[in-house]
Symmetry: C2
Subunit: 108 residues, 2 copies
DNA sequence: TTGACGCATCAAGAAACCTTGATTCAAATA
DNA sequence: TATTTGAATCAAGGTTTCTTGATGCGTCAA
């Protein structure tokens, strides 16, 4: 039974892993302006369809993207909640590390 | 000759990759309070020495950690500049995506 | 100088990841 | 219904990543 801390770490690691690939960062970049369907993305990124599906799935599983079907097309868009989460994590790192800035020698 | 945009992506991907592993996130957590030497970390994280060195190197190469030698010991600490960078990236994502929130149908 | 200690690095194997092309599936059109 | 189209999934292969144990290197103490 994994503790909630372990689960947090797992979720954070998954999130960062999803962001650790240039193709996926480019996908995110394309989706900043507006939602896109897969075929638009293949054009924009000059990447094969199965390759894109692979990366889209990783981003979606990490909670970074949402999708919605409209007829034959599936539109992907950013999930603001996860972006928020990412920013909060970064922010908390900064806050917590700033509290002890200056190469503090240490605790115990 | 890679464009600066490509280099940004590369750097961002490297940064996120460094954060994409639970062991490394735990290392960062240990370093939030204060700098630590490797043997402290092996105790705290219950991890083998070579394994820790491996992960420390990845974090250091990504610019997330700094190290300093003191006699036999090498102390690792967070690099505030990179934490800042991370927060800025997350913040810019949020800003730019927020500008078009609401599942805007699109541009083309 | 020798030995012990803290740490980095190497070598090898296992696991995870990414790419490509083929197949499958669902929705739309003919 | 048969075909086409947009997209997910599968299979196979190459590449990267992670772990472990062994080795090497610098620093200190005896």
């Amino acid at each position: 039974m994994p503790s909630s801390k372990t689960k947090d770490l797992e979720q954070a690691a998954r999130l960062f892993h999803a962001l650790s690939d240039q193709t996926r960062l480019r996908i995110i970049d394309c989706l900043l302006e507006c939602e896109q369907c897969v075929c638009d993305l293949t054009d924009m990124l000059q990447a094969g369809q199965s390759r894109l599906s692979f990366h889209l799935k990783i981003l979606k599983d990490a909670g970074i993207l949402k999708d919605r079907r409209e007829g034959r097309w599936i539109y992907y868009s950013l999930n603001p909640d996860t972006i928020e989460e990412l920013q909060e994590y970064a922010g908390s790192l900064k806050t917590r590390s700033h509290a002890v800035t200056g190469g503090s020698p240490c605790c115990d």
